[in-house]
Every structure is written in structure tokens, then in C-alpha cells.
């Protein structure tokens, strides 16, 4: 039997004079191809009091573009077999799709129209706003999302922590001129990233991308940065079956040289069924069904976010045990724990080669956060070289403290001042 490894990556990076970066990674063993195009039009770019504008524009851009009506766009997407998505994050608005490889040229032509020549029909603003309002209402019914959204605001600050779906007041205030202005200011090639991966003819596709986007023009205006949020505790009173607990603390940004030391600690705590939180909170004590910890680093700030859901009478114990386990990471790491983490990362990197869409997502994220491509081989090497003492040292120098905590449920919990002071 052959033993697959990471294949040579041949990633092409093309920087167009207008500021758009094109990243292309051929994966000729696949039947599919995928692309994503991200512009700097995420929620942190929204004007004050217009929460929801970024997501609304992203949706409205697909309501007809260039020569295509709204229905034409959907018919094309379906007939080309696009598994498509569009959405906003804190910094970016992204459009993309995975598809059978032969559809890629036509898909790029379609999305060039959507990004560059959307109709943004004023007579459909009310429909789009009603749809956006539905999303805001839907989150009210999802306790897990509710606590995480509140928490992000506390952690990242009012601008960087804005919810992707916006808020009712913001949506109610949006007019067509806001939509047009936001489009004009933010859907620009400067800082935009296009990633393409999968089975395609590299020269043909790069040529096509240059033809479709080369004469796109416009520079960006800097957006203001605000400070991160402050430690604290908020409780949302609700007669739910479980108490939903979300908490966070500061961590390094994505491009930081210590990022992997931080991320490795999170992995030992929460990746896999033998991870400390799963084993000690769920398996040994039966305190909850879901307990998790993950790294949420941005370009200029970072955080580690945890979540647990448990019935009210066990909620305090769940929170106490979870925080204690996180803080105990500095007491040492078993060699087996790090070894398992390395195997997990290596396996997932090798398997990432089975999906053009996974590669596209990684390429966009790496370029945005680090300003460069991280090959799978480099990532594998970085993980392989991690040592226990450096991980412990990072966690000693950056101990979890200043927690932000949000709970939703029948009664509030007690957070010791030492933890969120």
C-alpha cells in the first residue's frame, strides 16, 4: 500500500496592480474546484448605528448583477452545480463556491458580475431587510449563539465584537443610500483576496481572473480600531432546560510568533475525545454533553473562547472544574498528549488535500491574517517542532485571567473576583 503524504504545493501568488491578490493552488487529483473572493467589507467596517449593513449588502449583491436577473443568478448557480455560500465576518465579506472542475470559468464570470456590477435593486430592499431581521430573531431562539454573541462583544470590544447578523435597531435604520455607499466604499480591489484550488488549468484560470478583475478600481479607506472589551460577567435570565455558559480570555493574534504555542495548549485541552476537558468534565464526571474551547484570533487581537451547556444544578461545578482544568495546563503536559495533537494535525492536513473548498478557506485566512501563504508542508513542520516546555512557558507567561463570562439560564453563577477581576 502506498503511504500518502503532502503533495508538492505549487501555489501561485499573483498581485495585481489594483491591490487584488490571486492565490491559485492546483490539485489535479480532484474532480472539483473551488474559489472564494473576499473583500474588506465585514461588520467592523459598518458605520455606527447600521449594524447588519455588511450582511445585507452581501445578500443583496446576489439579487441580480450585470446582465443577469436575480433568478438568472440562481439558475446559473444551480446549473453549474455550485455549492455556494456568501457571508460576512468581522473583517471580510466573502463569496465562494465548490463545483465540478469544468464549471470554474463560468463561475468566475458570474461572480465577477456579482462583485463588480450588482444591481442592488432598491425595490427589493424591504424584502432583504425582512430576511435579515429573520436572522436576528432566529438567534434569539439559539441560547448557545446568544451567549457567544454577547461574549464576543465583551471580549473584542464594540466594533471588533459586532454580531455578523447585525441588530434590530441597525437594520431598521438602513436605507438604500447606506447600501450603495457601503458598496462603493468597501467592494474594492485593494486588500481583496481571491483563492482558487482544485482541478483546473492554471494558466487559463489565472488569465481569466486577470481579465475579469484587472480593470477593477478603487482604494480603501482605513477604518477606526477600538480597544478590546473589559473583563466582566453578564447573566441572561431565561427559563431554559440548561444553563449555557460562555467564557473567554485574551490570547495572541494569528500572526504572532507564539500563536502555535497558544493553539497547541487549546488542542491539548479540547481537541479530541482524550482531551482534558472532554475527559475530565464530561467523561469522568458526566457534567455535560458539550464542553469546548477554541482559539479565535484576529489580525490585531485574539481570544480563547469556551462553552459548556449543563443543567442548572450542575452549572457552577461545570464552570469551576472547566476553569480549573484550563489553569492547570501550566502544571505540565504529558508527552502522549502532544504526540496525539501532532498526529491529529498531520492527518487533517493530509486529508485537506481531499477537499478543494478546505484549501480555499485556508488560503484566504492565511493571506488575510498573516499576509502570506502557509503551505501545508510548512504548517506540518511547525507543529512537528513544538516542544512541551515552550508550550508550558507560553501558558505561564500568558495565564488565563481577566475572564469575560456570559451565562443564560434559570439563575446566575458565581465568578470569583480572582478570575474576572
Amino acid at each position: 500500500m502506498n503511504t500518502p503524504t503532502i503533495t508538492d504545493e505549487n501555489i501561485r501568488v499573483i498581485s495585481l496592480p489594483n491591490g487584488l491578490t490571486i492565490l491559485a493552488q492546483p490539485m489535479p487529483w480532484l474532480r472539483t474546484a473551488a474559489f472564494a473572493l473576499a473583500v474588506r467589507a465585514g461588520v467592523e467596517c459598518e458605520p455606527e448605528g447600521r449594524g447588519g449593513l455588511a450582511g445585507l449588502l452581501c445578500e443583496m449583491a446576489q439579487r441580480g448583477a450585470g446582465p443577469y436577473s436575480s433568478r438568472d443568478v440562481v439558475a446559473l448557480q444551480d446549473n453549474l452545480g455550485l455549492d455556494h455560500s456568501a457571508g460576512v465576518s468581522s473583517a471580510l465579506a466573502s463569496f465562494g463556491a465548490a463545483m465540478p472542475g469544468q464549471s470554474l470559468p463560468d463561475a468566475l464570470r458570474l461572480y465577477a458580475e456579482i462583485i463588480r456590477r450588482p444591481h442592488l435593486p432598491g425595490d427589493q430592499l424591504d424584502d432583504a431587510l425582512m430576511g435579515a431581521m429573520q436572522e436576528v430573531r432566529a438567534i434569539k431562539d439559539e441560547p448557545t449563539q446568544q451567549v457567544i454573541l454577547r461574549l464576543k462583544k465583551m471580549q473584542y470590544g464594540p466594533r471588533a465584537g459586532r454580531p455578523n447578523c447585525g441588530d434590530e435597531a441597525g437594520l431598521n435604520a438602513i436605507e438604500m443610500k447606506d447600501v450603495n455607499q457601503f458598496y462603493d466604499q468597501r467592494y474594492r480591489p485593494e486588500g481583496a483576496i481571491m483563492a482558487i484550488a482544485g482541478n483546473f488549468d492554471v494558466e487559463q484560470i489565472i488569465g481569466l481572473a486577470e481579465e475579469l478583475f484587472g480593470d477593477w478600481k478603487g482604494a480603501l479607506i482605513e477604518i477606526p480600531r477600538d480597544a478590546s472589551g473589559l473583563p466582566g460577567y453578564e447573566h441572561i435570565q431565561q427559563d431554559s432546560s440548561q444553563t449555557h455558559i460562555a467564557f473567554s480570555f485574551d490570547a495572541v493574534p494569528l500572526g504572532d510568533p507564539n500563536y502555535y504555542l497558544m493553539r497547541a495548549g487549546v488542542g491539548i485541552l479540547s481537541d479530541g475525545m482524550s482531551s482534558r476537558l472532554f475527559d475530565r468534565v464530561r467523561e469522568q464526571r458526566g457534567l455535560c454533553y458539550t464542553v469546548s474551547l477554541s482559539a479565535h484570533s484576529m489580525q490585531d487581537r485574539g481570544a480563547i473562547i469556551g462553552y459548556a451547556g449543563t443543567t442548572p444544578e450542575r452549572a457552577q461545578e461545570t464552570l469551576d472544574v472547566t476553569m480549573r482544568e484550563i489553569e492547570a495546563l501550566v502544571d505540565g503536559i504529558e508527552p502522549g498528549e502532544l504526540e496525539r495533537l501532532k498526529v491529529r494535525v498531520q492527518s487533517s492536513l493530509i486529508m485537506e488535500q481531499e477537499s478543494s473548498w478546505s484549501r480555499v478557506s485556508s488560503l484566504i485566512s492565511d493571506w488575510y491574517h498573516r499576509g502570506r501563504v502557509v503551505t501545508m508542508a510548512e504548517l506540518e513542520q511547525r507543529i512537528e517542532s513544538l516542544r512541551i516546555d515552550s508550550i508550558v512557558e507560553y501558558w505561564k507567561s500568558n495565564p488565563p485571567k481577566g475572564y469575560r463570562v456570559v451565562t443564560l439560564g434559570q439563575k446566575p453563577l458565581v465568578i470569583p473576583p480572582s478570575r474576572n477581576g
Binding site: 448557480q77 436572522e135 431562539d141 441560547p143 432546560s241 457534567l287 496525539r340 493530509i350
Partner: protein
């Protein structure tokens, strides 16, 4: 190209594999033909609870050993329980084939220790509480119970808090002895798999599986009473819910009926998340948060679900739009263009989801377990491409005219569902 191979071991265990030596990974899964439809009232939730207990150790391994070894092999491993199957699976790098097979096979003969049973019971109760807080607040389970009855295919997978609190370890053990015989299990594999090595190893590892003595069947249920913790009210009151959640269910072709292909296309035309008739009526216009229509196939029956989520004040008007949209399709049929679009979408979706060995493994395992057949991807694509507008019309007449049953979860129910 991939090749299909299969074997039946001397103890009755079946192995089915779609092998592609170019794959980066290998995926394996034990498919046990047991699920909530095979339970009695006192066993309600047992299949799923047992699925959790299978990770709790064997004669050779502690619970921590099982979890640790799964993580040592990287990849993705997990399990799930449905109405008719319980599946334990892992996707790993091909070099770990022997180790993952040794582990998964050992897990299939668990210790079921009392202490682990008591701890895991708490986890199951937490899982039930978690779903009670999540939309659509139990409306799916309730509508299945109302349509199929609360036993058999309509029995809820997690059981109820009451049935889980009442369950004994002995009940679970007896259920295990009846359901986990080798003749009731398929091992499926896909991707970069050494098939001959797999068969030889599993033959050796499972040679004692036939020794399991099946316990007598539990007493039959009292059909005149509802199972404990079950209600059949069409309304579910969720005082904190912002939205209204309406679920309807009606008949559809079962998993052995070739009409399932046109039925899937019909539901895509009517109620897919994007680009369907209901999408243009209700989602594009912002009238509803979501409105989808889809089929689910069991071995012998099928179900057509419609789910509408919107502001409670708009429920009545939106429901009328759904009814009108279906009536119009029954009257006018579908156009060739519409059907082509649905076929193109379905075909591309199949090609993409089947690119990963893990997804192929689920297809191969379910096909072999539930239908005793193998269908390669090209055959599936051919079946979709072969559907014509007349067939869509015939399927619509047959299934969309049947009576449906509803459940509504909302804060303040304004209208009594039918």
C-alpha cells in the same frame, strides 16, 4: 478508478468496500442494524445510550484507553444512532488501518460496566436537555410520533428523560445481546483500503462474536397506553421562542423504492433552501426565516417533511402560501427547465459529497446494510438524469395530495394546527 469488493465472514458478519488506492485516507464503519424502531417502551433511548457506552471500554481497554487510542490515530472518529441504524466510524491515514480496525472491532464487544453506565446516564440526560433548548424545540420528534405513532419508526431516538432515568444496565445488556450479533452487522470501508488484509484481520478479531447468546425478547408494549414521557399534543409551548416552528409530515417513497429519485427532485424544485418555488415565495421576499421541503427514506417507508419558520404573526399567511404553491404545482406540473436545473444541482452535489472517502463509506455501508446492494456513483447520477417531467407529475399526484400531520412549536400558539 475505484473497485467494489465484498465478503461474508464465517460468523455472518458482512464486509463491503469501495477501494480507491489513490485516496489520501481510508474510512471504516461498523453499521449495526438497530435503532429506535427496534426498541420497546422500557428500552426507549437504549440504542443511542448504548452507542455512548460502546466508547466506555472493553475487557482489554478502559474508557480512557479507547478515547486515547482513537486520538492517537488522528483523523475523525465518532458514532451516530438513527431510527434504524447505529454506526461507529473512523477516517484515518491508510497506515493506521490495522490499528483502527483492532480498536473499532474491540469496541464492538464492550464491558458495559455499571459505574460507567451511571455516569453516562447523566451525559444522556444533558443531551436531552440541550435539545429541549434548541429550535425547533422537539417539533420533529413530536410530528414523527403523531404521524407514525410513538413506537416503531416514530419512536424518538434519544428516548425521554423518564425512560433514561428508569433504564437498567441489564435492560441494555439484554438489548445488546439481541441486536449486536455478527449477522446483524456490516463493516463498510472506502478509500485507500487494503481489502484482503482487512478481511483476514476482521475474521480473526471477530471469531468469538458468534458466541453471544441472545436474551429473550422483552414483554410487548401495552399499545393502549402512551410510552412514559410522551405526549401527542400538536402544540409545543416554548415560552421564550421568538419564532414559530411549524413541521408537517406526509408520505414519500421508502428506501427500496426507485421513486425516491424523482421524489427527491420534486422536493428540490418545491422546497430546496435556495432557488426553489418556496424559496422565491417566502425567503427571497423575507416573509419567513426558512421554509424547506424534503424527503427522508427509511427501509420500508418514507416521509415528506415541510418545515416553516417565521414570525408567529405571519404563520397563517405563510402557511396559505405553502398550500397555494403546492396546489399550483399539482395543477401545472413542472417545466423541463426547472427539472434540468434540479438535476444539475443534484448531480453536482453527489459528485462533490462523494469526493471524500468518508462520505463514500457512509453510502456503501447504508446501501449494503439496508438494501444489500452496491450502487456506484455513476449509477446514482444516471438515475437522477433519467427522471422526466411526467414522472415528477406522477409523484406529485401520488404524494402531495395525501393528508399531512402537523406540529407547531411557538411561544403563543394562535392557531390550532390540523
Amino acid at each position: 478508478m475505484s473497485t467494489f469488493r465484498h465478503a461474508t465472514l464465517s460468523n455472518g458478519l458482512k464486509i463491503a468496500a469501495e477501494i480507491d488506492p489513490r485516496g489520501y485516507s481510508a474510512s471504516f464503519g461498523y453499521f449495526v442494524r438497530t435503532g429506535s424502531r427496534d426498541e420497546t417502551d422500557i428500552e426507549s433511548g437504549c440504542s443511542h445510550f448504548l452507542e455512548h457506552m460502546m466508547f466506555k471500554g472493553t475487557a482489554k481497554r478502559s474508557a480512557a484507553d479507547v478515547n486515547r487510542e482513537l486520538d492517537e490515530l488522528g483523523g475523525n472518529s465518532n458514532a451516530f444512532t438513527s431510527e434504524e441504524q447505529t454506526v461507529y466510524y473512523a477516517t484515518v491515514l491508510p497506515k493506521y488501518q490495522d490499528r483502527i480496525i483492532d480498536l473499532l472491532s474491540d469496541m464492538m464487544r464492550p464491558s458495559l460496566r455499571q459505574e460507567d453506565f451511571d455516569t453516562e446516564r447523566k451525559v444522556i440526560l444533558e443531551e436531552i436537555a440541550k435539545y429541549e433548548d434548541q429550535p425547533p424545540f422537539g417539533a420533529f420528534e413530536r410530528v414523527m410520533e403523531r404521524y407514525f405513532g410513538p413506537r416503531g419508526i416514530g419512536r424518538r431516538i434519544l428516548g425521554t428523560s423518564e425512560s433514561i432515568v428508569d433504564m437498567s444496565r441489564q435492560t441494555m445488556y439484554d438489548y445488546f445481546t439481541r441486536r449486536y450479533a455478527p449477522g446483524n452487522i456490516v463493516l463498510a470501508a472506502a478509500g485507500n483500503v487494503d481489502f484482503d488484509g482487512l478481511v483476514a484481520m476482521v475474521e480473526r478479531l471477530t471469531s468469538h462474536w458468534g458466541d453471544l447468546v441472545a436474551a429473550p425478547a422483552p414483554p410487548p408494549d401495552d399499545a393502549s397506553a402512551l410510552p412514559v414521557g410522551i405526549a401527542t399534543d400538536p402544540l409545543i409551548s416554548s415560552p421564550d421562542a421568538a419564532q414559530a416552528y411549524l413541521v408537517q409530515i406526509g408520505p414519500a417513497p421508502g428506501g427500496n423504492d426507485l421513486d425516491r429519485y424523482p421524489a427527491r427532485l420534486l422536493s428540490s424544485i418545491l422546497g430546496d433552501d435556495s432557488g426553489s418555488r418556496l424559496f422565491w415565495e417566502l425567503i427571497d421576499t423575507g416573509r419567513a426565516e426558512s421554509c424547506s421541503l424534503w424527503t427522508q427514506e427509511f427501509m420500508d417507508v418514507g416521509a415528506l417533511f415541510t418545515m416553516l419558520v417565521c414570525d408567529p404573526d405571519d404563520l397563517s399567511s405563510n402557511r396559505r402560501i405553502v398550500e397555494k404553491t403546492i396546489k399550483r404545482l399539482l395543477r401545472d406540473g413542472v417545466s423541463q427547465e426547472e427539472l434540468d436545473q434540479a438535476i444539475n444541482k443534484a448531480v453536482a452535489g453527489c459528485i462533490m459529497s462523494n469526493e471524500r472517502p468518508s462520505n463514500r463509506m457512509f453510502e456503501v455501508g447504508s446501501d449494503w446494510q439496508l438494501r444489500g446492494e452496491y450502487t456506484d456513483l455513476d449509477k446514482v447520477l444516471e438515475r437522477y438524469r433519467g427522471v422526466n417531467v411526467d414522472e415528477i407529475g406522477r409523484i406529485a399526484d401520488k404524494y402531495l395530495t395525501e393528508a399531512t400531520v402537523e406540529t407547531l412549536a411557538t411561544a403563543e400558539p394562535l392557531t390550532q394546527p390540523t
